[in-house]
Symmetry: D2
Subunit: 423 residues, 4 copies
């Protein structure tokens, strides 16, 4: 067959992307297999061997761990990013790093196409492709799971297995787990398969990155995290006698601690970008500790109104940008650009106790001066004139009293205290 062009394929080593690799070759493409090391547990050499065995012209492994931590994870920590109150965005955070690695590699290797194995109902196809287009508007994308010729041929696992056999693609997992996963150093996700019934409790042996709280140590462990401008700068672990200051080391250390103490599991039904609800289970061990500590330190060090504006603007919008896949967009650049100024005072230390799923704040301190125990003290005057509070209240009440008078005149308040403000 004549050459259809050159494709860089996001390759996982699994059955799906191996099939895609082989099928693309069938379709006349030259294929380079691409894998980003974003901290997932993986035998990269085995993946390389498999890619080449499937016919890839090359296999490229990119170590993205540091930029994943520093450019994606830490800004999300600064912004307390979270989706729908629960999901810490572990998959979403890795996508921009992988997509950028792919576009860079595509340019270097002369690939005019990029391809991926995401399905047509999920978020990841959107995240990858919007990132591709944002970075390189003229890139061409091949998404086989949205091409009838492909998805009709490979409807069902048996068709994939049969094809693999015919192509000599080694199928490592003789029996697939009854769910899908996505793993990186931030988290692992579980979805699909038996999890699609939202009332099914995930089996204990599904969870991979954390101990269950029940099996966690019976003794609590105490650590201290220091933040500089909202970014974790030092983790002290008395039990090991070590302190950690390198960004990646900090994150991996927290992961190990959280794993040991059963911290970071969630199980939710969330709203995908394409408008369907989806059940997902996640383990985000270190990130869960960091979130608790960061929010706590902001209590001590962040001005109330800065926090409020940040919560409304950055937290909400950044989380949506990440989840929906708009990282490489003008609004992302704008919103992310607002983060550092919100964090200039978020400096200090948080003391934490880790125990069977719990992250307990036991104290915090800071050189920033927004908290003043003496001034806040209920027991001391500390330069405060209580009469000022009377004036404050009186002025705050002006509007309410005026409204109350108006209501009373209408017979809506005053006449009946009980029902005046009922709905």
């Amino acid at each position: 067959m004549s050459n259809s062009g050159r494709v860089l394929l996001a390759y996982s080593g699994g059955l799906d992307t191996s099939t895609i690799l082989s099928w693309l070759i069938d379709e006349g493409y030259d294929v380079i297999a691409y894998m980003a090391d974003v901290g997932q547990e993986e035998d990269f050499e085995a993946v390389r061997a498999k890619a080449l065995k499937c016919g890839a012209k090359d296999f490229i492994l990119d170590d993205m761990r540091r930029e994943f931590v520093e450019e994606l994870i830490y800004p999300a920590v600064q912004a307390n990013a979270i989706y729908e109150d629960v999901y810490l965005l572990g998959t979403s955070l890795a996508r921009p790093v992988i997509a950028r690695g792919m576009i860079e590699t595509a340019e270097k290797t002369g690939c005019e196409y990029v391809s991926h194995g995401c399905t047509g109902k999920g978020n990841d196809q959107v995240r990858f492709e919007l990132a591709f287009y944002g970075l390189k508007p003229d890139i061409k994308v091949i998404a086989p799971w949205r091409i009838a010729k492909f998805y009709e041929r490979f409807a069902g696992r048996s068709a994939l297995l049969e094809y693999a056999e015919s192509k000599g693609i080694p199928v490592t997992q003789t029996k697939a787990k009854p769910w899908s996963t996505d793993e990186n150093l931030f988290h692992i996700s579980y979805e699909a398969g038996i999890l699609e019934d939202p009332n099914t409790t995930p089996p204990d042996d599904m969870w991979k990155l954390t101990q269950s709280p029940e099996n966690a140590p019976s003794e609590p462990e105490r650590i201290t995290i220091e933040f500089k401008e909202g970014i974790p700068a030092k983790v002290s672990v008395p039990a090991s006698g070590k302190t950690h200051t390198d960004s990646v080391d900090i994150f991996l250390t927290l992961n190990a601690l959280a794993r040991k103490h059963g911290i970071g599991r969630v199980d939710i039904v969330e709203n995908r970008f394409i408008g369907v609800k989806s059940r997902g289970c996640y383990e985000s061990p270190g990130a869960t500790i960091l979130r608790t500590a960061h929010i706590d330190l902001e209590g001590l060090t962040l001005d109330r109104e800065v926090r409020r504006v940040r919560d409304q603007l950055i937290t909400t919008k950044l989380s949506e940008i990440l989840y929906y896949g708009f990282f490489f967009s003008p609004e992302s650049k704008f919103v992310r650009g607002c983060i550092p100024a919100s964090q200039s005072t978020v400096n200090g230390e948080v003391k934490l106790k880790l125990y069977r799923g719990n992250v307990v704040v036991e104290g915090r301190s800071s050189e920033e001066m927004l908290y003043d125990a003496q001034f806040s003290s209920m027991d001391e005057m500390g330069g405060f004139e209580p009469e000022n509070a009377s004036g404050f209240i009186a002025v705050q009440a002006i509007r309410l009293r005026r409204y109350g008078l108006g209501q009373a005149k209408k017979g809506k308040a005053g006449a009946d205290i009980k029902t005046a403000y009922q709905l």
Copy 2:
């Protein structure tokens, strides 16, 4: 001394309000002592006796538990109300109920004054007084801790004790605890005293409403909560074989379960309305379970965009209204009035595991049809045409590609993929 008028005093039975009671009489007022039963653990008869002994003309005890649960707590549950990501607003929620009880009672008993023992630096003075003025714009308020004549005389605990002795006021607590508390059926708060150093870990014996996770049972317990329009309608407790459907019973049952399993403690530095930061510790046992369950069920049953608008509008604003004390205000009536419509689909059951501080969702179900496993399934087509996702992505990308082209022309993107969207 000539009669200065008639005062309804919010009376706690403690040293402060007993002193205020007596002092108001010294100042020529007739005083009626008022106590709201909002579920705090209290020997009401002892308080009554003490009030009368201090010279109160009468002691009035109002059982407010049901309206506290139904009019305040459950709407807050529906709205996922929370202050600064952590505080569930237990004190804030009780204030409107107490204040309304006082204004009703003041009207019935002919009191033209109301009085309270809140200090001049706290939130509660504001919450009480804004509620008073909203309900009865012409009410007169006596806040002794903001009156120099009072606070200068009673500067320090010894002055209070001395006065109490001189008046024959019984001082039950020979030695005060080194913190202040506020308790109701929703929560207990601890602040001031030794807690004013935000780096001091609260002593184990401070916590009153919950077992510590370390001392909680080693066996998890499973329960089911059913919600109707976002309000808990039934709690099933297999261990006891009981189901609970009465609003107050449900809440007290969840309190007992959470207490047993060490659920609901937090320790934060928060921003008071008057602009100082303050350290507070809270136990909100049952409320913590309810919050987890309610948010989870919304995942299954609430439309994504309704949730988003609700989060931005109602959750944030209602929480601020409650914390700042604007419950009896036009904006409160407006915002609370929007809650029910947001909850019409929040019907269903959540299965929970309670274990040593953890509230673990193990499944959820609903007759609402917003979740459709088949349609969401990654493994089935289920009426979904994957090509539609291609169009969806292509249209979403139009804006990003246009921006990318513009950036490239300016030499800001394209030329250097790595830095194109960096800050």
Copy 3:
């Protein structure tokens, strides 16, 4: 050809939808032509005749003017709905009414298909179809301008004209205007054609619904509008000696007045839902008067905080819902459901002067009591104790002074007043 099914076509009488009508018949469909009377200037009988001449099985004309005004326009007035600061949403407001009429008619007439003549780049295709699907999830939509077989055949006006001639479709407009329009009783829009250059000034003779300010009367005219709960209830026009109280009559009266006085033209570049920018010119005569009057009356009658919440929630979100076409959605039902409670106090009269493009507020009055001249008066005490303001300011300053002290300690403020808060 065998019968492909029954289609209800949104028919305008123009070349495009006449061609579509005929082409659908070619494709084997039975076609019923549908037109909604939303107040556009149109010879409905001529349209009917043309539809039938083109082969329609029937022509159905629905008078939607009253529900357009009462169900769409007036809630938008209450909410001050506006898109991107300028566009009053005239086309967006009519779409839900038309779409609902079509779905009702499709059900009555047994059409399993609906069709429209919207192009593939615009907002209206989205608005129509999302409305169709929201109202009748299983409806089937035929959008010829997105079907290659159609749009490739009819690429360019000459192909349309040729086909029309071949089918005996009368082409009324021998020469098309160099722009497209959409008209209803709320507004007319102009876009495309020569307007696609955003730097081209629209020719004077384009504007249809309003006099130019230059040609408007040299004498101002004064009118009064009375609102009840935010809805216009009475318009008094001294010049004619008439008062108008019927909802449609009020709107048409304001249209006539605004037309005469050159009020309501705008010319903008806006952001379409599909992510392209688009230049549009609009005339929204009566709506411009109503908006000015309603906002003004809210100043007098709406509580500050209710207004703020309403502005953030309802105004912004409703405007987006309308523009993007999500009127028949859960979030629309929720958001619209919040409007009435925000308007309960918006009762009163506004006096206006209309003059050459200007809508000048000359006064307003209300029985609501939120404004109190005496209390607001700078010249009178009116029950206000100025010392309260001192306390108010002192408390507001606590946070700022604390921050200032912290900055000073860091050498960021105090040392240099000029630069302390510069960026």
Copy 4:
């Protein structure tokens, strides 16, 4: 009398501040009179003479016009700042500049006190004092109109006049106008006096900074404004043959043009920070032109989502910060710091017609590439595949169809199209 200290007084030359000046001296203070030149029309030498005649130790005049325009006005233009949909914040914008000038001068001249003549019900007392405290937390403020000794003595204009006579203070205005004004180069405000009746139309001769539309030229005038990163960089005035590029010159030129053409008057009832409603009339001539032009150019050059975030965050919050007086606050620094990134693409030209109160946009152009006429064109394919819109709509409809199915099952939709989404 012994020396009470040294006061820097914000001095206007009027009866109030002259009385305060003299009274402060009576009270034992040394007083330095301070006036900021923020562009108001004023005989500064006469003011100086009067201050010294009243007994001021010195009179200091600060020319603040450039920093007023560059540090306050232009960021507000970039952010489209506006209060309650109507008020362009002219007084609010000048206060930070004046307050900073005062604190700088107080430091230079060794004044430990600052004083002003603002009344106790207004916004300006708050704006001044919060600025003072933010810039210099230990500053002491004397606000005579909130000191009973002062305001009781000077209750009413006759007491002021009598005192002035006794002190030999010249009273220039023999008859006060029946309203108060505040003027600077951005605007003039009118309030109080006869304006306190919100139904009173302001008399024609009140307006000072603009011609009435009726008396404006009968010929329109055309100008062009060029913006760079959202800041006006050049104004071209064909009628004069001049172009203006200096920041202050640009603003004054636009003021002159707007004045001539009757542009920039508003009359509103607004909500003051202290919770009362207040009627104010304003002329903001040049600012009105700039606002129209800036918003228009954003249509052409600003990304839709950046605009949306900016509108929600910066526009709303900055406007409140300015109006309430929190310019020197952490949240102000944060929010203002986000403005520049939002404006990087706001480059280009806007063509305007000025005519009798109307600012009509006649075209706009830009080198930014967010608008692409060919791509937006309804008449051309321009690389757009209409089928993509089908996919886009189909995916957007998933959520609505699911909801519609759920409603239908409940008998809420489908059964009755007409009422399905009614409230």
